[in-house]
Assembly symmetry: C2
Protein backbone atom coordinates (compact mmCIF):
# COMPACT_ATOMS: atom_id res chain seq x y z
CA UNK A 1 0.00 0.00 0.00
CA UNK A 2 1.32 3.44 -0.88
CA UNK A 3 2.56 5.24 2.22
CA UNK A 4 0.08 8.10 2.08
CA UNK A 5 -2.85 5.80 1.59
CA UNK A 6 -1.81 3.72 4.59
CA UNK A 7 -1.87 6.83 6.77
CA UNK A 8 -4.80 8.72 5.19
CA UNK A 9 -7.57 6.15 5.43
CA UNK A 10 -10.41 8.10 3.89
CA UNK A 11 -11.55 11.55 2.82
CA UNK A 12 -14.99 12.95 3.28
CA UNK A 13 -16.85 16.04 2.11
CA UNK A 14 -20.30 16.89 3.38
CA UNK A 15 -22.68 19.71 2.63
CA UNK A 16 -25.37 21.02 4.96
CA UNK A 17 -28.42 22.32 3.09
CA UNK A 18 -31.87 23.51 4.06
CA UNK A 19 -34.98 23.97 2.00
CA UNK A 20 -36.55 27.37 1.76
CA UNK A 21 -39.97 27.69 3.37
CA UNK A 22 -39.43 24.86 5.88
CA UNK A 23 -38.43 25.52 9.50
CA UNK A 24 -35.26 23.75 10.67
CA UNK A 25 -35.85 20.09 11.65
CA UNK A 26 -35.85 20.72 15.39
CA UNK A 27 -39.12 22.64 15.05
CA UNK A 28 -40.47 21.00 11.92
CA UNK A 29 -43.69 19.05 12.52
CA UNK A 30 -44.03 15.43 11.53
CA UNK A 31 -46.24 15.97 8.49
CA UNK A 32 -43.93 18.52 6.91
CA UNK A 33 -40.87 16.47 7.88
CA UNK A 34 -42.21 13.57 5.87
CA UNK A 35 -43.23 15.86 3.03
CA UNK A 36 -39.61 17.00 2.93
CA UNK A 37 -38.28 13.44 2.97
CA UNK A 38 -40.53 12.66 0.00
CA UNK A 39 -39.41 15.62 -2.05
CA UNK A 40 -35.70 14.98 -1.45
CA UNK A 41 -36.16 11.32 -2.35
CA UNK A 42 -38.11 12.16 -5.47
CA UNK A 43 -35.49 14.67 -6.57
CA UNK A 44 -32.87 11.92 -6.63
CA UNK A 45 -35.08 9.23 -8.12
CA UNK A 46 -32.81 8.52 -11.08
CA UNK A 47 -29.75 8.14 -8.87
CA UNK A 48 -30.26 4.68 -7.46
CA UNK A 49 -30.29 5.50 -3.78
CA UNK A 50 -31.93 3.17 -1.34
CA UNK A 51 -33.97 4.94 1.28
CA UNK A 52 -34.18 3.93 4.91
CA UNK A 53 -36.62 5.55 7.31
CA UNK A 54 -35.05 5.58 10.75
CA UNK A 55 -38.38 4.97 12.49
CA UNK A 56 -38.83 1.53 10.97
CA UNK A 57 -35.16 0.59 10.96
CA UNK A 58 -34.21 -2.14 13.48
CA UNK A 59 -31.82 -1.11 16.25
CA UNK A 60 -28.97 -3.21 14.86
CA UNK A 61 -29.25 -1.51 11.46
CA UNK A 62 -29.24 1.91 13.07
CA UNK A 63 -26.06 1.07 14.95
CA UNK A 64 -24.62 -0.47 11.81
CA UNK A 65 -25.07 2.79 9.87
CA UNK A 66 -23.52 4.80 12.71
CA UNK A 67 -20.53 2.45 12.91
CA UNK A 68 -19.88 2.92 9.23
CA UNK A 69 -20.19 6.67 9.60
CA UNK A 70 -23.10 6.70 7.16
CA UNK A 71 -25.39 8.43 9.62
CA UNK A 72 -24.69 10.40 12.79
CA UNK A 73 -25.95 9.46 16.25
CA UNK A 74 -27.89 12.75 16.15
CA UNK A 75 -30.10 11.45 13.37
CA UNK A 76 -31.61 8.97 15.84
CA UNK A 77 -32.78 11.80 18.10
CA UNK A 78 -35.30 12.73 15.42
CA UNK A 79 -35.94 9.09 14.53
CA UNK A 80 -39.65 9.37 13.73
CA UNK A 81 -39.07 12.13 11.17
CA UNK A 82 -35.67 11.23 9.72
CA UNK A 83 -34.44 9.17 6.79
CA UNK A 84 -31.23 8.37 5.01
CA UNK A 85 -30.55 7.83 1.32
CA UNK A 86 -27.66 5.54 0.64
CA UNK A 87 -25.63 4.32 -2.29
CA UNK A 88 -25.00 0.61 -2.17
CA UNK A 89 -21.21 1.11 -2.30
CA UNK A 90 -21.53 3.46 0.70
CA UNK A 91 -19.67 6.28 -1.07
CA UNK A 92 -22.60 8.68 -0.67
CA UNK A 93 -25.11 9.07 2.11
CA UNK A 94 -27.75 11.73 2.52
CA UNK A 95 -29.33 12.28 5.91
CA UNK A 96 -32.68 14.00 5.88
CA UNK A 97 -33.85 15.93 8.93
CA UNK A 98 -30.79 15.61 11.09
CA UNK A 99 -29.72 19.04 12.39
CA UNK A 100 -30.28 20.44 8.90
CA UNK A 101 -32.83 19.31 6.34
CA UNK A 102 -30.14 17.75 4.22
CA UNK A 103 -26.69 16.50 5.10
CA UNK A 104 -25.05 14.85 2.12
CA UNK A 105 -21.63 13.33 2.31
CA UNK A 106 -19.26 11.56 -0.01
CA UNK A 107 -16.49 9.27 1.28
CA UNK A 108 -13.45 8.22 -0.72
CA UNK A 109 -10.56 5.92 0.15
CA UNK A 110 -7.22 7.53 0.89
CA UNK A 111 -6.48 11.22 0.62
CA UNK A 112 -8.87 12.22 -2.13
CA UNK A 113 -10.87 15.24 -1.06
CA UNK A 114 -11.18 16.42 -4.66
CA UNK A 115 -13.07 13.34 -5.76
CA UNK A 116 -15.22 13.39 -2.62
CA UNK A 117 -15.96 17.04 -3.32
CA UNK A 118 -16.81 16.37 -6.96
CA UNK A 119 -19.25 13.61 -6.08
CA UNK A 120 -20.93 15.56 -3.29
CA UNK A 121 -21.15 18.64 -5.53
CA UNK A 122 -22.78 16.65 -8.26
CA UNK A 123 -25.56 15.53 -5.90
CA UNK A 124 -25.74 19.03 -4.47
CA UNK A 125 -26.29 20.51 -7.95
CA UNK A 126 -28.98 18.02 -8.80
CA UNK A 127 -30.83 18.67 -5.55
CA UNK A 128 -30.33 22.42 -5.88
CA UNK A 129 -31.85 22.36 -9.35
CA UNK A 130 -35.01 20.71 -8.06
CA UNK A 131 -35.42 22.16 -4.58
CA UNK A 132 -35.05 25.73 -3.43
CA UNK A 133 -32.15 25.93 -0.94
CA UNK A 134 -32.19 28.52 1.85
CA UNK A 135 -29.47 30.87 0.74
CA UNK A 136 -28.42 34.37 1.75
CA UNK A 137 -26.10 36.44 -0.47
CA UNK A 138 -24.10 37.56 2.60
CA UNK A 139 -24.15 34.42 4.73
CA UNK A 140 -24.25 31.79 2.02
CA UNK A 141 -26.18 28.61 2.74
CA UNK A 142 -28.29 29.03 5.86
CA UNK A 143 -27.84 26.28 8.42
CA UNK A 144 -29.21 25.39 11.84
CA UNK A 145 -25.83 25.95 13.47
CA UNK A 146 -23.80 29.05 12.56
CA UNK A 147 -20.57 27.06 12.26
CA UNK A 148 -22.00 25.62 9.05
CA UNK A 149 -22.98 28.90 7.45
CA UNK A 150 -21.27 29.93 4.24
CA UNK A 151 -20.33 26.97 2.11
CA UNK A 152 -22.13 24.63 4.48
CA UNK A 153 -19.24 22.35 3.80
CA UNK A 154 -17.06 20.23 6.00
CA UNK A 155 -14.05 18.46 4.56
CA UNK A 156 -12.33 15.86 6.67
CA UNK A 157 -9.59 13.27 6.41
CA UNK A 158 -9.31 10.18 8.58
CA UNK A 159 -5.71 9.57 9.59
CA UNK A 160 -3.96 6.60 11.17
CA UNK A 161 -1.37 7.99 13.58
CA UNK A 162 0.15 5.17 15.64
CA UNK A 163 3.73 6.44 15.54
CA UNK A 164 2.85 9.98 16.65
CA UNK A 165 0.89 8.36 19.45
CA UNK A 166 3.83 6.15 20.48
CA UNK A 167 6.27 9.06 20.60
CA UNK A 168 3.73 11.26 22.41
CA UNK A 169 3.62 13.64 19.47
CA UNK A 170 -0.14 13.97 19.07
CA UNK A 171 -0.78 16.75 21.58
CA UNK A 172 1.59 19.08 19.74
CA UNK A 173 0.08 18.39 16.36
CA UNK A 174 -3.46 18.75 17.58
CA UNK A 175 -2.93 22.00 19.44
CA UNK A 176 -1.03 23.51 16.48
CA UNK A 177 -3.83 22.77 14.04
CA UNK A 178 -6.53 23.64 16.52
CA UNK A 179 -5.14 27.19 16.73
CA UNK A 180 -5.54 27.72 13.00
CA UNK A 181 -9.12 26.61 12.56
CA UNK A 182 -9.08 22.83 12.40
CA UNK A 183 -10.70 20.21 14.57
CA UNK A 184 -8.78 17.01 15.29
CA UNK A 185 -10.46 14.19 17.20
CA UNK A 186 -10.48 10.43 17.69
CA UNK A 187 -12.88 8.52 15.47
CA UNK A 188 -13.56 5.31 17.35
CA UNK A 189 -14.16 4.98 21.06
CA UNK A 190 -15.74 7.35 23.52
CA UNK A 191 -14.48 10.51 25.21
CA UNK A 192 -10.77 11.01 24.73
CA UNK A 193 -10.17 7.47 23.49
CA UNK A 194 -9.00 7.07 19.92
CA UNK A 195 -9.24 3.34 19.31
CA UNK A 196 -7.10 2.08 16.46
CA UNK A 197 -5.11 5.34 16.57
CA UNK A 198 -7.61 6.77 14.10
CA UNK A 199 -8.09 10.52 14.04
CA UNK A 200 -10.05 12.94 11.88
CA UNK A 201 -8.98 16.40 10.89
CA UNK A 202 -11.60 18.79 9.52
CA UNK A 203 -12.28 22.47 9.05
CA UNK A 204 -14.00 24.00 12.05
CA UNK A 205 -16.05 26.67 10.24
CA UNK A 206 -17.17 27.07 6.68
CA UNK A 207 -17.84 30.79 6.38
CA UNK A 208 -15.62 33.33 4.59
CA UNK A 209 -13.72 30.98 2.32
CA UNK A 210 -14.55 29.54 -1.06
CA UNK A 211 -15.14 25.81 -1.03
CA UNK A 212 -12.03 25.22 -3.14
CA UNK A 213 -9.80 27.12 -0.73
CA UNK A 214 -11.29 25.36 2.23
CA UNK A 215 -10.59 22.05 0.54
CA UNK A 216 -6.99 23.06 -0.11
CA UNK A 217 -6.54 24.05 3.53
CA UNK A 218 -7.72 20.71 4.86
CA UNK A 219 -5.64 18.87 2.30
CA UNK A 220 -2.55 20.85 3.27
CA UNK A 221 -3.14 20.26 6.98
CA UNK A 222 -3.67 16.54 6.44
CA UNK A 223 -0.47 16.34 4.42
CA UNK A 224 1.48 18.05 7.16
CA UNK A 225 0.22 15.57 9.73
CA UNK A 226 0.99 12.71 7.35
CA UNK A 227 4.56 13.98 7.03
CA UNK A 228 4.91 14.16 10.82
CA UNK A 229 3.58 10.62 11.13
CA UNK A 230 5.99 9.38 8.47
CA UNK A 231 8.91 10.97 10.25
CA UNK A 232 7.82 9.45 13.55
CA UNK A 233 7.62 6.04 11.87
CA UNK A 234 11.11 6.41 10.42
CA UNK A 235 12.47 7.35 13.82
CA UNK A 236 10.73 4.44 15.51
CA UNK A 237 12.23 1.90 13.16
CA UNK A 238 15.61 3.60 13.43
CA UNK A 239 15.74 3.93 17.21
CA UNK A 240 13.50 1.16 18.51
CA UNK A 241 13.66 -1.45 15.80
CA UNK A 242 13.50 -4.49 18.05
CA UNK A 243 10.69 -3.15 20.21
CA UNK A 244 8.56 -2.07 17.28
CA UNK A 245 9.06 -5.31 15.35
CA UNK A 246 8.26 -7.27 18.48
CA UNK A 247 5.12 -5.25 19.04
CA UNK A 248 3.92 -5.59 15.45
CA UNK A 249 4.53 -9.32 15.17
CA UNK A 250 2.88 -9.99 18.53
CA UNK A 251 -0.20 -8.07 17.45
CA UNK A 252 -0.24 -9.82 14.10
CA UNK A 253 0.11 -13.17 15.89
CA UNK A 254 -2.76 -12.43 18.23
CA UNK A 255 -5.03 -11.35 15.38
CA UNK A 256 -4.03 -14.50 13.53
CA UNK A 257 -4.61 -16.92 16.39
CA UNK A 258 -6.90 -15.50 19.08
CA UNK A 259 -10.21 -17.29 19.50
CA UNK A 260 -11.93 -14.33 21.13
CA UNK A 261 -11.36 -10.68 20.31
CA UNK A 262 -13.28 -7.83 21.81
CA UNK A 263 -13.73 -4.64 19.89
CA UNK A 264 -11.32 -2.53 21.88
CA UNK A 265 -8.46 -5.02 21.82
CA UNK A 266 -9.07 -5.63 18.13
CA UNK A 267 -8.71 -1.93 17.35
CA UNK A 268 -5.35 -1.77 19.11
CA UNK A 269 -4.04 -4.85 17.33
CA UNK A 270 -5.22 -3.84 13.89
CA UNK A 271 -3.51 -0.50 14.30
CA UNK A 272 -0.23 -2.34 14.79
CA UNK A 273 -1.00 -4.50 11.77
CA UNK A 274 -1.47 -1.41 9.60
CA UNK A 275 1.81 -0.02 10.85
CA UNK A 276 3.52 -3.34 10.13
CA UNK A 277 2.27 -3.26 6.56
CA UNK A 278 3.53 0.29 6.10
CA UNK A 279 6.94 -0.70 7.46
CA UNK A 280 7.13 -3.66 5.11
CA UNK A 281 7.19 -6.22 7.94
CA UNK A 282 3.95 -7.68 6.62
CA UNK A 283 2.42 -7.81 3.17
CA UNK A 284 -1.20 -7.23 2.27
CA UNK A 285 -2.28 -8.75 -1.04
CA UNK A 286 -5.58 -6.88 -0.93
CA UNK A 287 -4.24 -3.38 -0.30
CA UNK A 288 -6.68 -2.34 2.40
CA UNK A 289 -7.44 -5.46 4.41
CA UNK A 290 -6.91 -3.68 7.71
CA UNK A 291 -9.15 -0.73 6.86
CA UNK A 292 -11.93 -3.02 5.69
CA UNK A 293 -11.69 -5.07 8.86
CA UNK A 294 -11.85 -1.94 10.99
CA UNK A 295 -15.14 -1.04 9.33
CA UNK A 296 -16.57 -4.56 9.25
CA UNK A 297 -15.57 -5.78 12.69
CA UNK A 298 -17.46 -3.19 14.74
CA UNK A 299 -20.13 -4.70 17.00
CA UNK A 300 -23.28 -4.05 14.96
CA UNK A 301 -21.56 -5.16 11.77
CA UNK A 302 -20.86 -8.53 13.35
CA UNK A 303 -24.37 -8.82 14.75
CA UNK A 304 -25.83 -8.13 11.31
CA UNK A 305 -23.52 -10.68 9.77
CA UNK A 306 -24.72 -13.32 12.24
CA UNK A 307 -28.25 -12.19 11.49
CA UNK A 308 -29.48 -12.76 15.02
CA UNK A 309 -29.27 -11.44 18.53
CA UNK A 310 -25.84 -12.23 19.85
CA UNK A 311 -24.20 -11.75 23.20
CA UNK A 312 -20.75 -10.16 23.51
CA UNK A 313 -19.03 -13.56 23.81
CA UNK A 314 -20.52 -14.80 20.54
CA UNK A 315 -19.56 -11.53 18.90
CA UNK A 316 -15.99 -11.83 20.15
CA UNK A 317 -15.77 -15.42 18.91
CA UNK A 318 -17.09 -14.42 15.50
CA UNK A 319 -14.82 -11.40 15.27
CA UNK A 320 -11.79 -13.57 16.03
CA UNK A 321 -12.85 -16.15 13.46
CA UNK A 322 -13.38 -13.66 10.64
CA UNK A 323 -10.19 -11.80 11.46
CA UNK A 324 -8.27 -15.08 11.46
CA UNK A 325 -9.67 -16.14 8.10
CA UNK A 326 -9.09 -12.72 6.59
CA UNK A 327 -5.47 -12.54 7.74
CA UNK A 328 -4.77 -16.05 6.51
CA UNK A 329 -6.13 -15.05 3.12
CA UNK A 330 -4.56 -11.64 2.67
CA UNK A 331 -1.62 -11.03 4.98
CA UNK A 332 1.75 -12.68 4.54
CA UNK A 333 5.00 -12.28 6.41
CA UNK B 1 2.72 -37.16 23.63
CA UNK B 2 1.16 -39.63 26.00
CA UNK B 3 -0.88 -37.89 28.65
CA UNK B 4 1.19 -38.97 31.63
CA UNK B 5 4.43 -38.00 30.01
CA UNK B 6 3.07 -34.54 29.18
CA UNK B 7 2.29 -33.99 32.86
CA UNK B 8 5.19 -35.87 34.45
CA UNK B 9 8.16 -34.15 32.85
CA UNK B 10 10.99 -36.00 34.52
CA UNK B 11 11.88 -38.33 37.35
CA UNK B 12 14.93 -38.08 39.50
CA UNK B 13 16.60 -40.25 42.12
CA UNK B 14 19.56 -39.06 44.11
CA UNK B 15 21.69 -40.66 46.78
CA UNK B 16 23.63 -38.80 49.45
CA UNK B 17 26.82 -40.65 50.44
CA UNK B 18 29.80 -39.85 52.61
CA UNK B 19 33.22 -41.46 52.81
CA UNK B 20 34.34 -42.98 56.03
CA UNK B 21 37.26 -41.21 57.69
CA UNK B 22 36.62 -37.84 56.10
CA UNK B 23 34.81 -35.04 58.00
CA UNK B 24 31.71 -33.64 56.26
CA UNK B 25 32.55 -31.09 53.53
CA UNK B 26 31.70 -28.03 55.63
CA UNK B 27 34.71 -28.75 57.87
CA UNK B 28 36.87 -30.60 55.37
CA UNK B 29 40.12 -28.81 54.54
CA UNK B 30 41.13 -28.05 50.99
CA UNK B 31 43.82 -30.71 50.67
CA UNK B 32 41.58 -33.54 51.82
CA UNK B 33 38.68 -32.19 49.77
CA UNK B 34 40.77 -32.50 46.63
CA UNK B 35 42.03 -35.90 47.70
CA UNK B 36 38.41 -36.98 47.94
CA UNK B 37 37.57 -35.55 44.53
CA UNK B 38 40.45 -37.52 43.07
CA UNK B 39 39.40 -40.80 44.63
CA UNK B 40 35.77 -40.48 43.54
CA UNK B 41 36.86 -39.60 40.02
CA UNK B 42 39.31 -42.46 39.88
CA UNK B 43 36.67 -44.91 41.12
CA UNK B 44 34.49 -44.08 38.12
CA UNK B 45 37.28 -43.91 35.58
CA UNK B 46 35.77 -46.52 33.25
CA UNK B 47 32.37 -44.81 33.21
CA UNK B 48 33.03 -41.96 30.81
CA UNK B 49 32.19 -39.08 33.08
CA UNK B 50 33.57 -35.66 32.35
CA UNK B 51 34.78 -33.83 35.40
CA UNK B 52 34.38 -30.15 36.05
CA UNK B 53 36.03 -28.40 38.97
CA UNK B 54 33.81 -25.58 40.12
CA UNK B 55 36.74 -23.36 40.97
CA UNK B 56 37.94 -23.12 37.38
CA UNK B 57 34.52 -23.19 35.81
CA UNK B 58 33.43 -19.87 34.22
CA UNK B 59 30.44 -18.19 35.81
CA UNK B 60 28.21 -18.87 32.80
CA UNK B 61 28.95 -22.59 32.96
CA UNK B 62 28.19 -22.70 36.65
CA UNK B 63 24.81 -21.06 36.05
CA UNK B 64 24.25 -23.35 33.10
CA UNK B 65 24.66 -26.45 35.26
CA UNK B 66 22.33 -25.03 37.90
CA UNK B 67 19.67 -24.19 35.31
CA UNK B 68 19.74 -27.74 34.05
CA UNK B 69 19.50 -29.05 37.61
CA UNK B 70 22.82 -30.86 37.21
CA UNK B 71 24.30 -29.13 40.23
CA UNK B 72 22.71 -27.28 43.13
CA UNK B 73 23.35 -23.63 43.97
CA UNK B 74 24.84 -24.91 47.26
CA UNK B 75 27.74 -26.51 45.41
CA UNK B 76 29.00 -23.01 44.53
CA UNK B 77 29.32 -22.10 48.21
CA UNK B 78 32.18 -24.56 48.44
CA UNK B 79 33.46 -23.65 44.98
CA UNK B 80 37.18 -24.01 45.62
CA UNK B 81 36.79 -27.58 46.92
CA UNK B 82 33.93 -28.93 44.83
CA UNK B 83 33.58 -30.78 41.55
CA UNK B 84 30.94 -32.42 39.45
CA UNK B 85 31.10 -35.54 37.30
CA UNK B 86 28.73 -35.49 34.40
CA UNK B 87 27.51 -37.84 31.68
CA UNK B 88 27.34 -36.15 28.32
CA UNK B 89 23.63 -36.98 27.94
CA UNK B 90 23.02 -35.33 31.34
CA UNK B 91 21.23 -38.38 32.73
CA UNK B 92 23.68 -38.70 35.62
CA UNK B 93 25.49 -36.10 37.61
CA UNK B 94 27.65 -36.56 40.69
CA UNK B 95 28.39 -33.58 42.90
CA UNK B 96 31.45 -33.93 45.10
CA UNK B 97 31.70 -31.92 48.31
CA UNK B 98 28.32 -30.29 48.30
CA UNK B 99 26.57 -30.78 51.66
CA UNK B 100 27.67 -34.42 51.57
CA UNK B 101 30.79 -35.85 50.02
CA UNK B 102 28.82 -37.40 47.22
CA UNK B 103 25.46 -36.52 45.77
CA UNK B 104 24.70 -38.66 42.75
CA UNK B 105 21.52 -38.27 40.77
CA UNK B 106 19.95 -39.83 37.76
CA UNK B 107 17.28 -38.05 35.71
CA UNK B 108 14.88 -39.74 33.33
CA UNK B 109 12.17 -38.35 31.06
CA UNK B 110 8.59 -38.82 32.11
CA UNK B 111 7.46 -40.80 35.11
CA UNK B 112 10.22 -43.37 35.36
CA UNK B 113 11.55 -43.50 38.88
CA UNK B 114 12.45 -47.17 38.50
CA UNK B 115 14.90 -46.52 35.70
CA UNK B 116 16.32 -43.48 37.50
CA UNK B 117 16.74 -45.64 40.59
CA UNK B 118 18.39 -48.45 38.64
CA UNK B 119 20.92 -46.12 37.08
CA UNK B 120 21.74 -44.30 40.31
CA UNK B 121 22.03 -47.62 42.16
CA UNK B 122 24.44 -48.94 39.58
CA UNK B 123 26.76 -45.98 40.13
CA UNK B 124 26.21 -46.26 43.87
CA UNK B 125 27.28 -49.91 43.85
CA UNK B 126 30.36 -49.21 41.83
CA UNK B 127 31.41 -46.38 44.13
CA UNK B 128 30.52 -48.40 47.24
CA UNK B 129 32.72 -51.24 46.06
CA UNK B 130 35.72 -48.95 45.77
CA UNK B 131 35.23 -46.45 48.58
CA UNK B 132 34.19 -47.07 52.17
CA UNK B 133 30.83 -45.34 52.78
CA UNK B 134 29.95 -44.00 56.23
CA UNK B 135 27.24 -46.39 57.30
CA UNK B 136 25.58 -47.16 60.60
CA UNK B 137 23.53 -50.36 61.08
CA UNK B 138 20.82 -48.38 62.92
CA UNK B 139 20.84 -45.09 61.02
CA UNK B 140 21.81 -46.31 57.60
CA UNK B 141 23.92 -44.02 55.44
CA UNK B 142 25.28 -41.16 57.53
CA UNK B 143 24.65 -37.73 56.06
CA UNK B 144 25.41 -34.13 56.98
CA UNK B 145 21.72 -33.39 57.45
CA UNK B 146 19.53 -35.83 59.40
CA UNK B 147 16.72 -35.65 56.85
CA UNK B 148 18.95 -37.64 54.53
CA UNK B 149 19.82 -40.37 56.99
CA UNK B 150 18.70 -43.91 56.23
CA UNK B 151 18.59 -44.65 52.53
CA UNK B 152 20.15 -41.25 51.78
CA UNK B 153 17.75 -41.25 48.91
CA UNK B 154 15.45 -38.64 47.50
CA UNK B 155 13.06 -39.54 44.73
CA UNK B 156 11.30 -36.73 42.95
CA UNK B 157 9.03 -36.18 39.99
CA UNK B 158 8.71 -32.91 38.09
CA UNK B 159 5.08 -32.21 37.24
CA UNK B 160 3.44 -29.72 34.91
CA UNK B 161 0.26 -28.54 36.62
CA UNK B 162 -1.28 -25.65 34.68
CA UNK B 163 -4.89 -26.77 35.03
CA UNK B 164 -4.71 -27.25 38.81
CA UNK B 165 -3.18 -23.78 38.93
CA UNK B 166 -5.97 -22.28 36.81
CA UNK B 167 -8.73 -23.79 38.94
CA UNK B 168 -6.90 -22.83 42.15
CA UNK B 169 -6.50 -26.47 43.07
CA UNK B 170 -2.81 -26.48 43.95
CA UNK B 171 -3.06 -25.41 47.59
CA UNK B 172 -5.28 -28.38 48.41
CA UNK B 173 -3.03 -30.88 46.70
CA UNK B 174 0.11 -29.50 48.25
CA UNK B 175 -1.19 -29.37 51.80
CA UNK B 176 -2.63 -32.89 51.51
CA UNK B 177 0.68 -34.36 50.41
CA UNK B 178 2.67 -32.21 52.76
CA UNK B 179 0.85 -33.78 55.70
CA UNK B 180 1.92 -37.27 54.71
CA UNK B 181 5.63 -36.69 54.27
CA UNK B 182 6.10 -35.18 50.84
CA UNK B 183 7.56 -31.87 49.75
CA UNK B 184 5.96 -30.07 46.82
CA UNK B 185 7.55 -26.92 45.47
CA UNK B 186 7.94 -24.82 42.34
CA UNK B 187 10.97 -25.62 40.22
CA UNK B 188 11.65 -22.43 38.31
CA UNK B 189 11.54 -18.91 39.69
CA UNK B 190 12.25 -17.58 43.14
CA UNK B 191 10.26 -17.66 46.35
CA UNK B 192 6.70 -18.79 45.84
CA UNK B 193 6.84 -18.40 42.07
CA UNK B 194 6.47 -21.53 40.00
CA UNK B 195 7.31 -20.39 36.50
CA UNK B 196 5.99 -22.62 33.77
CA UNK B 197 3.62 -24.23 36.28
CA UNK B 198 6.37 -26.72 37.02
CA UNK B 199 6.37 -28.40 40.43
CA UNK B 200 8.39 -31.11 42.05
CA UNK B 201 7.10 -33.67 44.49
CA UNK B 202 9.63 -35.59 46.57
CA UNK B 203 9.93 -37.56 49.80
CA UNK B 204 10.79 -35.34 52.73
CA UNK B 205 12.80 -37.88 54.77
CA UNK B 206 14.58 -41.05 53.88
CA UNK B 207 14.82 -42.87 57.17
CA UNK B 208 12.74 -45.86 58.22
CA UNK B 209 11.64 -47.09 54.83
CA UNK B 210 13.30 -49.34 52.33
CA UNK B 211 14.37 -47.61 49.12
CA UNK B 212 11.86 -49.61 47.11
CA UNK B 213 8.94 -48.62 49.34
CA UNK B 214 10.01 -45.04 49.32
CA UNK B 215 10.10 -45.14 45.54
CA UNK B 216 6.61 -46.64 45.43
CA UNK B 217 5.30 -43.93 47.74
CA UNK B 218 6.60 -41.11 45.56
CA UNK B 219 5.34 -42.83 42.45
CA UNK B 220 1.89 -43.24 43.97
CA UNK B 221 1.76 -39.63 45.10
CA UNK B 222 2.87 -38.38 41.69
CA UNK B 223 0.20 -40.50 40.02
CA UNK B 224 -2.48 -39.08 42.28
CA UNK B 225 -1.47 -35.54 41.40
CA UNK B 226 -1.36 -36.47 37.72
CA UNK B 227 -4.91 -37.77 38.00
CA UNK B 228 -6.06 -34.55 39.65
CA UNK B 229 -4.38 -32.52 36.93
CA UNK B 230 -6.01 -34.63 34.23
CA UNK B 231 -9.42 -34.14 35.79
CA UNK B 232 -8.84 -30.40 36.04
CA UNK B 233 -7.87 -30.35 32.36
CA UNK B 234 -11.01 -32.23 31.37
CA UNK B 235 -13.14 -29.81 33.34
CA UNK B 236 -11.43 -26.81 31.83
CA UNK B 237 -12.08 -27.95 28.29
CA UNK B 238 -15.64 -28.88 29.22
CA UNK B 239 -16.57 -25.70 31.07
CA UNK B 240 -14.30 -23.03 29.61
CA UNK B 241 -13.58 -24.28 26.14
CA UNK B 242 -13.50 -20.88 24.43
CA UNK B 243 -11.39 -19.22 27.09
CA UNK B 244 -8.86 -22.04 27.24
CA UNK B 245 -8.54 -22.35 23.47
CA UNK B 246 -8.15 -18.61 23.20
CA UNK B 247 -5.47 -18.62 25.86
CA UNK B 248 -3.54 -21.48 24.31
CA UNK B 249 -3.60 -20.15 20.77
CA UNK B 250 -2.60 -16.68 21.91
CA UNK B 251 0.38 -18.09 23.78
CA UNK B 252 1.32 -20.27 20.84
CA UNK B 253 1.04 -17.24 18.55
CA UNK B 254 3.26 -15.13 20.78
CA UNK B 255 5.89 -17.86 21.00
CA UNK B 256 5.71 -18.21 17.22
CA UNK B 257 5.99 -14.52 16.39
CA UNK B 258 7.48 -12.48 19.24
CA UNK B 259 10.83 -10.89 18.50
CA UNK B 260 11.81 -10.54 22.16
CA UNK B 261 10.96 -12.98 24.93
CA UNK B 262 12.15 -12.66 28.47
CA UNK B 263 12.57 -15.74 30.59
CA UNK B 264 9.56 -15.22 32.81
CA UNK B 265 7.11 -14.54 29.98
CA UNK B 266 8.53 -17.45 28.03
CA UNK B 267 7.88 -19.84 30.91
CA UNK B 268 4.23 -18.77 31.11
CA UNK B 269 3.71 -19.16 27.37
CA UNK B 270 5.44 -22.51 27.05
CA UNK B 271 3.27 -23.85 29.85
CA UNK B 272 0.21 -23.01 27.75
CA UNK B 273 1.86 -24.63 24.73
CA UNK B 274 2.36 -27.86 26.67
CA UNK B 275 -1.25 -27.80 27.76
CA UNK B 276 -2.35 -27.16 24.17
CA UNK B 277 -0.41 -30.21 23.00
CA UNK B 278 -1.98 -32.36 25.69
CA UNK B 279 -5.45 -31.15 24.70
CA UNK B 280 -4.78 -31.92 21.04
CA UNK B 281 -5.10 -28.28 19.96
CA UNK B 282 -1.50 -28.40 18.79
CA UNK B 283 0.71 -31.19 17.53
CA UNK B 284 4.33 -31.79 18.41
CA UNK B 285 6.24 -33.90 15.89
CA UNK B 286 9.19 -34.22 18.27
CA UNK B 287 7.34 -35.41 21.36
CA UNK B 288 9.01 -33.16 23.90
CA UNK B 289 9.72 -29.90 22.13
CA UNK B 290 8.31 -27.82 24.96
CA UNK B 291 10.29 -29.62 27.69
CA UNK B 292 13.50 -29.27 25.72
CA UNK B 293 12.89 -25.58 25.19
CA UNK B 294 12.22 -25.07 28.88
CA UNK B 295 15.63 -26.52 29.65
CA UNK B 296 17.48 -24.84 26.78
CA UNK B 297 15.97 -21.37 26.93
CA UNK B 298 17.05 -20.48 30.46
CA UNK B 299 19.38 -17.46 30.61
CA UNK B 300 22.76 -19.14 30.97
CA UNK B 301 21.89 -21.69 28.30
CA UNK B 302 21.32 -18.88 25.84
CA UNK B 303 24.48 -17.06 26.86
CA UNK B 304 26.50 -20.24 26.34
CA UNK B 305 24.90 -20.74 22.95
CA UNK B 306 25.89 -17.23 21.90
CA UNK B 307 29.32 -17.96 23.30
CA UNK B 308 29.87 -14.42 24.52
CA UNK B 309 28.81 -11.92 27.12
CA UNK B 310 25.30 -10.85 26.29
CA UNK B 311 22.96 -8.30 27.79
CA UNK B 312 19.36 -9.18 28.63
CA UNK B 313 18.05 -7.62 25.40
CA UNK B 314 20.33 -9.76 23.23
CA UNK B 315 19.31 -12.81 25.24
CA UNK B 316 15.62 -12.02 24.77
CA UNK B 317 16.13 -11.53 21.04
CA UNK B 318 17.97 -14.84 20.76
CA UNK B 319 15.42 -16.67 22.88
CA UNK B 320 12.61 -15.42 20.65
CA UNK B 321 14.49 -16.42 17.52
CA UNK B 322 15.26 -19.96 18.65
CA UNK B 323 11.76 -20.47 20.00
CA UNK B 324 10.30 -19.24 16.70
CA UNK B 325 12.50 -21.56 14.65
CA UNK B 326 11.79 -24.50 16.94
CA UNK B 327 8.03 -24.03 16.84
CA UNK B 328 8.04 -23.64 13.08
CA UNK B 329 9.93 -26.90 12.83
CA UNK B 330 8.06 -29.02 15.33
CA UNK B 331 4.66 -27.63 16.26
CA UNK B 332 1.69 -27.71 13.92
CA UNK B 333 -1.89 -26.64 14.38
Amino acid sequence: MAGNENIAVSSRVRFARNISGYPFPNILDSARSHELIESVSKSLKGRNFSRMDIETLPEVDRLFLIERHLISPDLLKNASNASVLLKKDETISIMINEEDHIRMQSIQHGLDLDEAYAIASDIDSELGSKLKYSFDPQLGYLTACPTNLGTGMRASVMLHLPALKLVNGLANVFSAFSKVGFTVRGIYGEGTEALGDMYQISNRTSLGLKAEDLLQNVKRAANKIIDSEKLARENLIKNQKNEIEDRIFRSYATLKYARMLNSKEFMGLISDLKLGIYLGLLNDNDNNTADKLIIDMQPAGISKRLNKDVNPEQRDLTRAKIVRQTLNKHITE
